[in-house]
């Protein structure tokens, strides 16, 4: 019975990390049929994390982050063309150039794009950027190399913080505006966000929290000149980076009858997409940032992740399940894991920090800027974040996987006094932030009303 699954036509929509790793895995798993990968950008798969780090620091050109292959997936690459629709009954993917691709099985890996500045005229000003693609990074890196007077970063999530860090390292003045009380608070909670705020200020970032940017201003030539803030102040700057999080690329699925919505395309633990009635499909799979999947360690809530490691792990599971049946299929159970390098600190996270009520510093200290922070929910460990202590993360991963009691047992030689006093994790409602968490819990079941998209007029 597996013979036919190893043959036939597979289409992967999305030619980034998840799409590439899925294509390779399909071949590793013995798929011999035709394989087509569709990508809306004209470039072969490239790596995005360096775009906000090495590329903005000027160490690496934006067009050199092409991803290496594990093996040649022997695929037809349809690059520079967007998928515009999906006919689930006729089993075809419609392309923006009018063509359509028939498939036996489909993998949706369309990822996310940067959330644009809401006012299109202001967003169109010369000097206003978002940062998601290679072209975005090339344009921004060029402006930074030209030595702007000041860069305004809107949004204090990981991307916004990394941009501010890169600017300061290059000696460029930066203002960062964040609607919430501190940078990274949405992802890491109160305690670590205070460390993040201190790092910004110590490195000379003009950090403005609790404010929103109300308008972007330009001169008569259409060049960005500054912004108005909600506290009545004005920031003069010649470059603006809008870092307000990501939007899932699901619009092309509006008529597809899938459980696709602003939080992504809902799928089961085996990466099979749900349709809009909550019935699981068997020929449409989902992987990467665009997916929304249940995780048993977090009360089976549906997770939406924007994590590099999740894209890889989920693509591998999806590909495996596309060429295997029934009991041979695997669940995607990988723990969310994330990293960020900013202001000379290496921040790594495992589990879901927002799925917490309390935190405790289990090793190290905030003063040393070297620590392991453990997150607990109702008396069990659900996440850990290390700052310059990555070798410890594996231990805490094990605690999460085994639902170990929180606060974690004593014994570490570098355990601070503070470990005995857990404090509230202080994770705010993401609605009050200009940056969202890169990992979000989004409820339990695919709900029709929540997930149907209104095609925009």
């Amino acid at each position: 019975m597996t013979g036919d699954l190893r043959d036939g036509r597979i289409v992967i929509v999305g030619a980034s990390l998840a799409g590439l790793r899925a294509a390779e895995t399909l071949r590793e798993e013995g798929f011999t049929g035709s394989l087509t990968v569709v990508g809306d950008e004209p470039y072969p798969p490239y790596d995005r994390p360096p775009l906000s780090k090495q590329v903005l620091l000027g160490q690496v050109a934006a067009d050199t982050t092409g991803l290496p292959m594990r093996r040649n997936p022997d695929a037809e690459w349809r690059l520079g063309v967007r998928a515009s629709g999906l006919d689930g009954i006729g089993k075809r993917v419609m392309l923006a150039d009018g063509e359509s691709l028939p498939f036996d099985r489909l993998l949706i890996a369309t990822g996310t794009r940067a959330r644009p500045w809401p006012n299109p005229d202001e967003a169109a000003l010369d000097g206003v950027f978002t940062l998601r693609t290679r072209d975005d990074a090339a344009g921004l890196a060029e402006r930074l190399a030209a030595g702007p007077q000041r860069v305004l970063v809107i949004g204090g999530g990981f991307t916004g913080s990394e941009i501010a860090s890169a600017c300061r390292e290059r000696g460029i003045e930066v203002t960062l505006a964040e609607r919430g009380p501190a940078p990274l608070v949405g992802a890491l909670g109160g305690t670590l966000s205070k460390l993040a705020a201190a790092m910004h200020r110590n490195h000379g970032v003009d950090l403005r929290c609790g404010v929103t940017v109300t308008a972007l201003r330009g001169d008569s030539g259409g060049r960005f000149t500054g912004a108005e803030l909600s506290d009545g102040s004005r920031v003069e700057a010649d470059v603006c980076v809008v870092a307000l999080g990501a939007v899932r690329n699901v619009e092309w699925l509006a008529e597809a009858g899938l459980a696709a919505g602003p939080r992504g395309v809902t799928c089961d633990a085996g990466c099979r997409a749900f349709d809009m009635y909550g019935i699981v499909t068997d020929d449409v799979f989902v992987a990467g940032d665009v997916s929304r999947f249940p995780h048993p360690l977090f009360d089976y809530q549906l997770l939406s992740l924007e994590h590099w490691g999740n894209a890889v792990a989920q693509a591998e599971v999806a590909a495996h399940n596309m060429v295997n049946r029934g009991p041979l299929r695997r669940p995607h159970l990988a723990l969310p894991t994330f990293w960020s390098t900013q202001f000379g600190l290496n921040i790594k996270s495992v589990g879901v920090p927002t799925f917490s009520d309390h935190v405790a510093i289990a090793q190290g200290s905030l003063e040393e800027r070297r620590l392991a922070m453990v997150y607990g929910y109702r008396g069990r460990v659900t996440a850990a974040v290390t700052v310059d202590m990555a070798k410890s993360l594996e231990y805490y991963r094990h605690l999460i996987e085994t639902a170990a009691p929180f606060p974690p047992a004593p014994g570490a030689a570098d355990r601070p006094m503070a470990a005995e006093i857990p404090v509230p994790s202080d994770v705010p409602d993401p609605k009050g932030l200009s940056h969202g968490p890169t990992v979000a819990l989004t409820g339990h079941l695919p709900d029709r009303r929540l997930t149907v998209i209104q095609p925009s007029g």
Binding site: A362, Q363, G364, E368, R370, A372, K391, S392, E394, Y395, H398, A409, P410, G411, A412, A413, D414, R415
Partner: protein
């Protein structure tokens, strides 16, 4: 035989040449195996890596009961964080990243030259001892240059080194009081010697690590004299006592696997992977000792605070639950996360130097080994079970043309 004598049998000199069947017996007996003296032995890969990352596990011998509690403060190799981190970071400043990222890379040329010189001297000899003629002199010379120790003092520090290494061994069969005393004294003497060398460079820095340590301008980044002595002793000993085993085990393993030797001769690009496979298959360091800081559960066994727990890294490297066909030497092995240099915060400080030395040494030797033959198999081993390697490795270099 009963599993509670495994550590005794592993450390028994009679089993030095081939401890691997005992490691298999250990893994069969369970993830954590109690020994007759109340200590524990851990031989499976996943338990070892978990313990090496567990902050409740101490590397500090002063947390063990008995005479070790009164011992001097050990070097960072056997300290816990945060003190371990502080000292290792300071020791790293003149050696590697982030402060000196290119330091070891710049030694490649010297190491290659030295290798060629040593091999040239051996060219016309019908028989050589890989240990005394090559695998020992190479790393000793390298570490001497790196630290700033006169090479001609080797006979002097060799004796200290032997005493320190012997006292660091696991000897469940022996009363080690005398050995430990001799080891402590050697550490003190060797430390004084190195401190003295460093003092001579105060204000007159030469391009070596002792100079860097003693002339560090920032008091917050400066080692105290005691720390400098302990760190120097650690680096000088670890810098050659382990690399000699890596190179020697490499030659021995390649001569035992002529097909792989042939393959490496044809595909020199495989050498880095082959060295990693050697580190898995015949690691220079076989065991490390640890102890829990609190009563803790390891794989279902409760182990009391202060109990000696010996982690058999070399056994973890042969665990079939982690490595496919683990008893096969396969230089093309993928996904080779071996424990040859340990894991976690104590991962071998000098690993990059050992690798570069092994690449240079084996890379230069491999083309010359095509007609070589082991004179004695197994070769005679050193007493030490923790730092396991041949004492001599005589090989016959038949002249092909």
């Amino acid at each position: 035989m009963s599993a509670d004598t495994l550590l005794e049998r592993i450390t028994d000199y009679a089993n030095r040449a081939d401890p691997y069947p005992l490691y298999a017996e250990l893994r069969e007996a369970g993830p954590v195996v109690r020994q007759a003296d109340g200590s524990y032995l851990v031989g499976s890969y996943h338990e070892i890596t978990a313990l090496l990352h567990n902050p409740q596990i101490s590397a500090d011998p002063r947390n063990l009961p008995g005479p070790a509690q009164k011992a001097r403060k050990p070097p960072f190799l056997r300290l816990d964080d945060p003190e371990h981190h502080r000292l290792r970071t300071l020791a790293m400043r003149p050696f590697g990243p982030p402060h000196s990222p290119g330091r070891i890379d710049t030694m490649r040329g010297q190491i290659t030259e030295l290798t060629e010189e040593l091999l040239d001297e051996l060219r016309d000899r019908p028989q050589i001892d890989i240990v005394d003629d090559f695998a020992y002199p190479l790393p000793v010379t390298v570490i001497c240059r790196l630290l700033g120790v006169p090479r001609e003092d080797e006979p002097l520090f060799r004796e200290w080194s032997n005493a320190v290494v012997a006292s660091a061994d696991v000897r469940p069969d022996l009363d080690t009081t005398e050995q430990d005393g001799a080891g402590d004294q050697a550490r003190i003497d060797m430390g004084m010697y190195l401190l003295n060398l460093a003092e001579q460079r105060r204000g007159h820095p030469t391009d070596d690590m002792l100079s860097a340590f003693i002339n560090e301008p920032d008091p917050a980044l400066r080692l105290t004299p005691e720390e400098l002595a302990e760190t120097g002793v650690l680096l000088l000993i670890a810098g050659h006592e382990t690399t000699v085993n890596l190179i020697t085990n490499g030659v021995l393993t390649l001569l035992r696997h002529p097909d792989q030797l042939d393959r490496l001769r044809g595909e020199p690009d495989l050498l880095p992977r082959a060295v990693e496979e050697l580190l898995r298959y015949e690691p220079p360091v076989h065991m490390r000792q640890r102890t829990p800081l609190v009563d803790m559960d390891i794989a279902g066994t409760t182990i009391a605070k202060g109990t000696s727990v010996v982690l058999a890294l070399a056994s973890g490297n042969r665990d079939p639950k982690r490595f496919h066909d683990p008893d096969r030497f396969d230089p093309t092995r993928q996904d080779n996360e071996h424990l040859g240099f340990g894991s976690g915060i104590h991962l071998c400080y000098g690993a990059p130097l050992a690798r570069i030395e092994a690449h240079a040494a084996l890379g230069a030797l491999i083309p010359r080994l095509s007609t070589a033959r082991l004179v004695q198999d197994p070769p005679p081993y050193r007493q030490n079970a923790m730092l396991r390697g041949p004492r001599h490795l005589p090989i016959e270099m038949r002249q092909s043309a």
